[in-house]
Symmetry: C2
Subunit: 611 residues, 2 copies
């Protein structure tokens, strides 16, 4: 017998369940603490998806219980429920689901997640998973106990019965497994629910920890996020093999109809154009195209610019929520955000959102924190494997006022980054969905987003450093000038001069001062504003007076404040220019407080209070 | 209709081929350059495995050709060939193979690799893969063209025929795909073949690049690596679910026989012990054990220490080859290596080997390079995701004389690390097999291995820095003392003193000097050795004389060297002690050269030549 014939005897098909039983680290079950986190994450993602599909505000209950040597993971939701016939396959068959074949943003896309939890549970505890689900108030709840037959990747129903359940609708799953409960910052059940709550403010998440402690992440809004609609594939970046398959299996009879109906963003006119460009008959049956003709059609896709994919297949977090999320978690001095336009990789629309927080109570030393999200799901593990991290590492942060050792890598400084990728198909590096793969198109978009917020940070910081330099300079001047002035006045025996104007001139400030004289029992006031800077200064000038002034020039807007009147002027004073305001008040009127300037930094104003 | 019923309509099974068609980044096809590298790697791994299984020295030919818009990847080997019936499934069915169900070290373990290449090829070029294989000189070669039916994950044979082929045995595969050929340092077809050659010195690898350039990585040895034998699973770390499955499906009738035959490292005695510990009847049928009894048995596995798994399921690279590999690639001043003992994670035996190179022409700035290998396959991508990297990052390298920014992360300095993990089942983070998952047991072993070589480095460097400090100090003393001595001798009009003893005292050196006097026409020599250090110095002292000395005390070993005689003494001199040797020679004997000290560094010896 030949060697090859000997070797052939060992060849054998591998069931996908067997494969993952042996390689469960690929599913995110590589350590005891992580197993619990992964399980909870998969169950909660399913609940959130189901609630959103059904238009229900999610109310999700998570409990981790110690049960002898093992842990029990319980996740219960108020979602639409699952019909009894589908339950076994939804929970106990890998590669089964409703979202894989649809092009729209959702958390679950692979059809693996929760079954992976069931697989790990039966592998480590030897116990079946218990599911209860109810699809309407007037229907009975369905209870079953499930295991996966790993050699076939098919569900095994250990027990099934109708039961009473107080909920009108919902699903509850209970799994027992090896685990270890930790409560560290991010890499914990608590941490990942907290992160999930930030980007899902429409959900109420309740966590009961093993020691009985209850944490509720309350809903911050009653409105569901923008619904993501399923779309057709976009012609940009589609592969030849995919195109050939679509051409072969379509039920459309004519090429131009096929183009219009199969793809998003192709209309009647662009379909005609594409056929012309590719030198193909628009009336030809799609299945009749040979390999070369398909290549020409693909080439035409690249040559004719079709419009971007419809954005409604995606549901971004939004700049406002990103800002709110960062503010909720950190005390910050500065936040910048951006949402990039929709882009496409291999026919899949995606967009990138970035938030950057700076200063406040963030640590000055050490690498910055990166919060990664994909389709509103926090990514907790495998930071080093993620396109988000790689994009952060390859920005030259020194150009944007953050330090970076050896010219690359995660920058160092008091900053935090939040990056969210939304897509109809997130290209994860593995089934554990911890890290986004380095697709070139996605790296480019993250890079652009990072640089946008980085530029905003640089502007903020250079302004800050300018202002703090000014502050130091002015402080010195303010300390030294009065002494000189005092010395001089003593020597010359003359009254001490007001040093305000001198300071304003040296500092290039806006100088505000009053001149007044008694006239016919009334006081005439001249309010002078001198701009000693090189820039046009636009601002509002307020005078708070005990009475309404008269003979006001130029005219002011006057507002009664109860115990007095606010007079204000909108002014714009060019560099080196001055503005003069005059008015009259009664001689016995209470002397006005300092004038107030609104809209300029205090550092550049002398002689008035800046707000 | 209830919402759940609407949603149920979209539920659908997903074929594993469809899954990977959509998520091909998981298989290592996320960018054009990487696609070619991944394809070549999978094909070459298969060839190497097949050759080793058949006991053939591998001779593998790789060619990358430009073909219009696409690239052609050709890999041909002199292996045992594949029987015609198996070819379609080996190349065009995911999750099919001979190594998944066996516990021994091999490159391919998942049954996905080459079919992933075929999948990517048909997806991007729309073309079938061409395979030729021949299993014996007297059999015809079999040729076929294959595609994968992705919705079923089954092969589609486009064409099949018998053909003539000049080889006696072997397999050739040709795929066409989108790609981009780069030739950068490691992340290239060239780079990954070069790395593969280092750890597979028994293979000849030939690469023909698109421009026609031919690179041959010649075989460095004619002997095949140690064969890895299949073993039974080891009881350590086995999961309860796995144990229950084994109990249920075994054909053994008695528990004690089941234990002995199913597991490695369990003999008749330990089987009895286990049963006793678990309070189980050794004669009971394994399938009769209930859940609690299985739990008890698992607990007994943990309580009774069974011996380590047999090492012959693994084929480590070996310290010698690691050293040679590092020397081949880098110019280094220092190399340390270590091979850790066999350990077990989840029932899978594994071992870790580490090599560390330092100095030479390595860059002083920048992070160190890490060469990662798993089962003799170089890991090229996803360094940041890998347990090897994570283990390197969490060592405090400052304790081992390398710098590290922010106290963690990849260290900085002129060093290179090579880490190899050998296992019956490498726990990769994904099917692309780029990174090893963070299994706690593996992290511990890598950490221990790293620290072993790091300690050796620290010893080497502290010795180096001590020596270089001494050298500097001595140089200064040697320059200044003579001037002082000269000055003094001038002033006092006395002969210049020998400064050797003073230097030795200051430096804490071993001082060697001779005193001699004429007596009765002969010369009596006293050879004095003073140890000024704090340590015991053990060494050989040589006197090369033109004649055999007489009245030698203590006695010396004398060896004729042709033109003279070597007299040597083994000495051990304590701190602050001295040794005195005396002998006589003829008065007209040629004066001896400097004495020679063997076994000590030149820096710590004064008055003698150290070798």
């Amino acid at each position: 017998m030949e060697i090859a014939e000997e070797l052939a005897k060992q060849q054998k098909a591998i069931s996908v369940a067997e494969f993952f039983e042996k390689n469960r680290q690929i599913l995110g079950f590589d350590s005891a603490p992580r197993a619990l986190i992964t399980c909870v994450k998969e169950a909660v993602d399913n609940s959130l998806d189901a609630c959103e599909d059904a238009g229900i505000l999610p109310d999700i209950f998570v409990q981790i219980k110690k049960s002898g040597e093992y842990f029990q993971v319980i996740v219960e939701d108020n979602g639409p429920g699952i019909v009894p016939e589908e339950i076994p396959r939804v929970f106990a068959k890998l590669l089964y689901g409703s979202r894989f074949h649809t092009l729209r943003q959702s958390r679950g896309q692979q059809g693996i997640g929760i079954s992976a939890g069931v697989l790990y549970s039966q592998l480590t505890s030897g116990r079946p998973t218990r599911v209860i689900s109810k699809i309407a108030p007037d229907r009975p709840a369905y209870y079953c106990e499930l295991m996966i037959n790993t050699s076939k990747n098919e569900p095994e129903i250990i027990k099934a019965e109708e039961v009473d359940w107080e909920r009108p609708r919902g699903t509850r799953v209970e799994m027992e497994m090896e685990g270890s409960y930790v409560r560290s910052r991010r890499q914990s059940v608590y941490g990942s629910l907290k992160s999930a709550a930030i980007v899902n403010p429409h959900a109420r998440l309740t966590l009961v920890e093993p020691e009985g402690n209850v944490e509720v992440f309350e809903r911050a809004t009653e409105s569901l996020p923008k619904k993501a609609y399923a779309i057709q594939p976009h012609p940009e970046g589609i592969e030849l093999g995919e195109l050939i398959k679509l051409l072969r299996y379509t039920d459309k009879k004519k090429l131009r109809v096929f183009l219009k109906e199969t793809f998003s963003s192709i209309g009647t006119i662009s379909a005609q154009e594409l056929c012309k460009k590719a030198d193909l008959d628009p009336e030809a049956p799609p299945a009749s195209l040979d390999h070369d003709e398909a290549v020409r059609l693909l080439l035409a896709f690249k040559q004719i610019r079709v419009k971007s994919p419809p954005v409604d297949c995606l549901s971004p977090i939004g700049e406002e929520l990103i800002r709110a999320g960062l503010e909720k978690e950190f005390r910050l001095d500065f936040i910048a955000t951006t949402t990039r336009p929709v882009s496409v990789y291999s026919g899949n629309p995606f967009l990138v959102e970035v938030g950057l927080g700076y200063g406040g109570e963030l640590a000055r030393e050490g690498r910055i924190e990166i919060l990664r999200f994909a389709n509103r799901v926090p990514l907790v593990y495998q930071q080093g494997a993620c396109a988000i991290t790689h994009a952060v590492e390859s920005v030259s942060w020194k150009n944007y006022s953050l330090s970076q050792s050896a010219g690359s890598g995660i920058p160092v400084g008091p900053a935090v980054l939040l990056v969210h990728i939304a897509s109809t198909n997130i290209p994860f590096t593995s089934e554990s969905k911890d890290a986004v793969a380095d697709m070139p198109e996605i790296l480019v978009e993250i890079d652009l987003g990072l640089k946008e917020v980085a530029r905003k940070l640089r502007r903020y910081l250079s302004r800050q450093s300018l202002l703090s330099e000014r502050r130091e300079k002015e402080e010195i001047i303010r300390k030294i000038l009065p002494r000189i002035a005092k010395k001089l006045s003593d020597v010359l025996d003359r009254p001490e001069p007001d040093i305000g104007p001198v300071v304003a001139k040296i500092m290039g400030n806006l100088l505000v001062y009053r001149e007044s004289e008694q006239q016919d029992g009334r006081i005439s006031v001249r309010l002078v504003v001198e701009n000693h800077s090189d820039l046009v200064r636009s601002f509002k000038l307020h005078e708070l007076l005990g009475e309404k002034a008269e003979a006001i020039s130029p005219p002011a807007k006057v507002i009664s404040l109860g115990d007095g009147y606010d007079h204000h002027w909108k002014l714009s004073v060019g560099p080196g220019q001055k503005a003069i305001i005059s008015y009259q008040i009664g001689a016995n009127s209470s002397g006005p407080a300092k004038p107030v300037v609104e809209g300029l930094d205090p550092e550049i104003v002398t002689g008035a209070r800046a707000i």
